[in-house]
Each structure stands twice: as structure tokens, then as C-alpha cells.
């Protein structure tokens, strides 16, 4: 089993590596922000693309043992050919994001970050050991769906029966990744969802850290990692085998790749494609991703509103759509032919308006948010911003604005869903609010360190 799992992980990594080679080819020093960012993208794109391809293959051939390796090798070959062709079009080695040498404080933060990473990994493994099957949603949704697909044989569609588990309509990125690992392992071992969850969690953290390192410098990146690893909900969610951190990964990845495209105009087309792909993979992870697609698409149309007249705007939107559409088509097939109705949607009707007009629901949601907020290090982040100050001329204005808009619109969307939910509101808040806030937390941390003033820009005119 261990050898089979190693093959599964190596192939996932190679698929992700080749995908990054298509979207954002180029060398990077291993101790650079680019390397951290690329490594995180390798994990997210590797799992996302292989899971998507496996679903298409299962829909055609069923979940046979050879489906996973066969699909993986085909996807890897196609991506490797694409990456090779892309590499030929690029000029030789060049440093895209030159970094100043590290100072004493930078080194101290880096060592502190490594120490925290060690503690965080131990804490995550402890959580995994204590709850090897993950938490509620893991075994009630994702792993349950994966079991029915994996064990179902010709009856794999039974995994989407109304009445199976909690939400049989949820999209399949995570169950698909788990099925894929089990097909390699030859049995439904707990190690597969455990490894998948932990890799996605630390890839999400690495993505934010790498992005801040690239866009805002080493010191902010170190602080970013401290904030994310110092978030208790992050540590528990990392081991819970939930889809919330994978979802937050794709939320952030779509914004980061969009920001990179703006910073690297010569390489922007494929970065926009990657941004659209990651937005699509967010919707393949959880239903909240569909809302995210609407929000990001609206934000992009506002930013690139000259698309009918401006060639660059037209190219940006077209490339984003090109990355998004294949995943969206797969989601449409799943939702229209396999998934049962969503309980939050089908539960709407004559009771919806009274729920919207019920002020006590708004108060309950806000109170619950205040109760959950201390699980996130909001106070030190606010103090940090107040002490350091804002950089109003941040270089990556479009990406930062898109991120802020996405964060506010997602939070508003989640609030609205709680208001109209036909389920018991207090129970739903109790079970999901911390996870929903965790979905948004990496995006919020990214925004904080994108707008916080960096050392070089601090007012240095007044010696003390």
C-alpha cells in the first residue's frame, strides 16, 4: 500500500508540475517566493486536474482499477507536451522578482516561521491520530461519496442518491482525489483522505505565503505564515479532511494567478487561463465555488470593462473564460445528470420571505460570528495594520481590489444563505460558521499583507 500511495503522490506531483509548466513556466531559486508559490500550485493543480480527469474517465468507463493510472498518464503526457512547448517560447533564465538580501529581523522571522511550521505539523498529525476518519463533513459527505464510487463498481452512480449522507449533491474534487488514491492503493485506506487534506491545507498556506513573498517581500511573507499557522481553526481544519481549505486554496489561487498575469504581461495569457481554471476548480470543490465564479466574473468584467475596445482586456477575459469553461462544463454535467437537488435550494418556498424579514436571524448570525471570531487572530492583525499603516499605492492594485471585492461579496453571500436557510439556523451556524470563516481567512490574510506597508515604504524620515 505504501508503495502504491507513493506512486499516487508522485504522479499527482508530476501532473501539477507539468500544469505549472504550462501556466507559469520558468526557473526559480528554491529559497524564493516563486518556488514556494510554484510548489503550492503543484499540489493544488495536481490534485484538481487529476481528480477532474478521473471523474470524466469514470463517467465513461466506470471506476475500474486501471482507470486512475491510465487517465493520469494520459493527462501527464498532454501537460508535459504543453509545458515543453511553452518552455521553448520563453527567454532564458531571468529573475522576475528580485529580492533584497535578508536582514536580521527577516532571518529571525524565518526561523520563527520554521519553528511554528514544525509545531503546526505536530499539532496536525496529533489531530489526525485522534480522529483518523476526519470530522463530520469528511465522513458524512466526501469520504462517504468516495466509498460509494470506489466500492460501487457498475453502480457507482449510487453515490449521488438522495438520502445518502448529508449532502450528496456536493461536487467531487475531494471525493475524486480520494477515489483516485484508493484505486492506486487497492483498498479504502484512511491514509488517502488524511494525506490529501493535510497537503491541501499546507498548500493553501504556502500559496498565500508565496504570493505575499513575490508581491510584497520576504518579511511580509514570514509574517503571513506566522498568522496562518497561528490560527487554531487552520490546524484543526487541516486534519479534519474537509473541503474548506482546498476551496480556500482555489479562491486564493485564482486571484494570485490573476495578479501574476498583471505583473508579467509577456506571460499573461496562460496565467489568466490558470486563474479561470482555479476559479472553476473552486466550484468543483464546493457549491460555494459557484458563487465565487459569479463574483470573480463580475469583478473581472468591471475591471476589464473596455473589453469590446481594448485588445488586452479582451484577451484577459477570453483567456480566463478558456480556463473556466471546461471545468464548468463538467460541473454542469454532474449537476444536471447525477446530483440530487440541493437541500438549501429545494427547501425554499413560502417560508423564504418570512425568514428574510425575521430580524432575529440577522442578530443570531452576527452574534455567532462574534463568538467564532476569537478562533482567528483578528486582533493582532488589526493592531499590526494600525501600527504599520496601509500602502495606498500597492503595486498590484487590480488583484488586490478583486480580492477585496471577492471577500466582501462571498461574506455577504454566506450571510444571505444563513438568512434564508430552511434548516435550523442555530444548528447550521454551530456546525458550519467556523469552517466558512476558514474558507475566507487565507484570502483575508492575503489582502492584509498586500495592503500593509512594507519596510522599504515605511516613512523613514524621522529618526528616533
Amino acid at each position: 500500500v505504501i508503495l502504491a500511495l507513493l506512486v499516487w503522490l508522485v504522479l499527482t506531483g508530476l501532473i501539477g508540475y507539468a500544469a505549472v509548466g504550462v501556466i507559469w513556466p520558468g526557473p526559480s531559486h528554491w529559497k524564493s517566493g516563486e518556488a514556494v508559490l510554484r510548489a503550492a500550485l503543484v499540489v493544488g493543480l495536481g490534485f484538481g486536474l487529476s481528480s477532474s480527469a478521473l471523474f470524466v474517465a469514470i463517467a465513461v468507463f466506470g471506476p475500474g482499477r486501471l482507470v486512475a493510472p491510465g487517465t493520469d498518464i494520459l493527462v501527464l503526457l498532454l501537460l508535459a507536451l504543453g509545458a515543453r512547448a511553452r518552455a521553448r517560447t520563453l527567454p532564458g533564465d531571468r529573475e522576475r522578482f528580485p529580492a533584497p538580501p535578508a536582514g536580521l529581523l527577516d532571518r529571525a522571522i524565518a526561523w520563527g516561521m520554521l519553528a511554528l511550521l514544525g509545531v503546526a505539523l505536530i499539532a496536525t498529525l496529533a489531530f489526525t491520530f485522534a480522529a483518523p476518519h476526519g470530522q463530520w463533513d469528511a465522513w458524512g459527505i466526501y469520504n462517504l461519496t468516495a466509498r460509494y464510487i470506489y466500492l460501487g463498481g457498475a453502480s457507482w452512480r449510487r453515490a449521488f442518491s438522495a438520502g445518502l449522507g448529508i449532502h450528496p449533491d456536493y461536487p467531487l474534487l475531494l471525493p475524486g482525489s480520494v477515489v483516485r488514491g484508493w484505486l492506486y492503493a487497492g483498498r479504502a485506506t484512511d491514509l488517502v483522505p488524511q494525506i490529501t487534506g493535510i497537503l491541501f491545507a499546507y498548500a493553501a498556506a504556502g500559496l498565500v505565503v508565496g504570493a505575499v513573498w513575490v508581491f510584497r517581500g520576504r518579511r511580509h511573507a514570514g509574517l503571513t505564515s506566522v498568522v496562518l499557522l497561528g490560527t487554531p481553526v487552520f490546524l484543526s481544519t487541516a486534519a479534519a479532511q474537509y473541503a474548506d481549505l482546498p476551496l480556500s486554496f482555489y479562491f486564493v489561487a485564482a486571484i494570485v494567478l490573476y495578479g501574476l498575469a498583471n505583473r508579467l504581461p509577456d506571460e499573461s495569457t496562460w496565467l489568466y487561463v490558470g486563474s479561470g481554471l482555479c476559479a472553476g476548480l473552486a466550484a468543483w470543490t464546493k457549491n460555494e465555488g459557484l458563487l465565487y465564479i459569479l463574483i470573480v466574473a463580475f469583478g473581472l468584467l468591471v475591471i476589464h470593462r473596455q473589453l469590446l475596445r481594448d485588445r488586452d482586456d479582451k484577451r484577459a477575459i477570453a483567456a480566463f473564460v478558456a480556463g473556466l469553461v471546461p471545468v464548468l462544463a463538467m460541473i454542469a454535467y454532474f449537476k444536471l445528470t447525477l446530483a440530487p437537488p440541493n437541500d438549501l435550494v429545494s427547501g425554499q418556498g413560502s417560508g423564504t420571505l418570512p425568514r428574510i424579514l425575521d430580524a432575529s436571524r440577522y442578530v443570531l448570525i452576527l452574534r455567532s460570528a462574534m463568538r467564532v471570531a476569537p478562533a482567528f487572530p483578528v486582533i493582532p492583525v488589526v493592531i499590526f495594520l494600525a501600527v504599520v499603516g496601509l500602502d495606498r499605492d500597492a503595486g498590484d492594485r487590480k488583484a488586490t481590489l478583486l480580492a477585496i471585492f471577492a471577500l466582501i461579496a462571498l461574506a455577504a453571500g454566506y450571510f444571505a444563505v444563513y438568512v434564508v436557510t430552511p434548516l435550523d439556523l442555530s444548528i447550521q451556524l454551530h456546525r458550519s460558521l467556523d469552517r466558512l470563516m476558514m474558507q475566507l481567512w487565507p484570502l483575508l490574510v492575503l489582502i492584509v499583507f498586500m495592503v500593509a506597508r512594507v519596510p522599504e515604504q515605511a516613512p523613514a524620515d524621522a529618526p528616533t
Binding site: A123, A130, R147, R158, P377, F384
Partner: protein
Amino acid sequence: MISRGALRITIGSVILVAWCTVHELVTARGNLWAIHDAMTGGVRDSFALNEARFSAIRRDLPENRAVGYVSDRPRAEPKALFLEGFVQAQSALAPHLALDTDTLTPIVGDFPSGAPDSVRLAAMGLRTVRDYGHGVLLLTRSAP
């Protein structure tokens, strides 16, 4: 000499690092207690227990259609004991599909606190086809 801007960055960074480090260490300490509980048997693996409980009944379930499911677990929220037991039973019974109803037959009976006697089952309109032990029964509708 240190500029005011650099001093502000340093102060902000120190506050952030100190706060988040304490936050993480407190969480990590809680997790280490969880691992201690798991190693000393404080945490029971209910999935492994259910896998063992339901392994025999799986052989007697039909392949191509869903079956019913009844349990004596309380349905009252917020602990959701029924839902928790039901979903774990579905996981253990996979790929057989058990649904929360007594209108589909046969019916999987899941009574972790002990199988009910025939009188109680008859009152529920059910009768035992086979008893697998550990509170797991294969049931069917009793004749009206």
C-alpha cells in the same frame, strides 16, 4: 539609529509573532492531549466498531436496490446521534444503499443499546429475519 518607520514595522511584527505563537502553542497543547486520549483508549474508533458490526449483514442485502434503515438512536438535535449513527452505518454498508425509511424492505435494524424483543418490533410493524448480534438485525414488515 533606527527610523520611525522601521521601528513601527518591528513593533507590529513582534506583536503579531508573539500573539500568533501563543495562540498556536495553546492549540498544539490541546491537540497533544487529544493524542494522549487516543493512545490511552479515551477515543473509541466508532467506524471500526461499525465496520465489524455490519460486516455480516452486508452479505444478505440485495445488490441492486436500496434497503430501509431503522434505529433506536435519538433524533433530537443538536447532538444528531441518529444522523451520526445512520451515516456511519451507510459507510459500513457501502456499496449497499440504506435509506432512512421503513417502507423499503428488507430493513437494516441498528440498535446499539441492544436488539428489541419481538413484541416491541411487532409494535413497530416489523419482524426479525435474522439477528447478527451487537444490535444488528435484518428486518422485514410484519404481515398486517
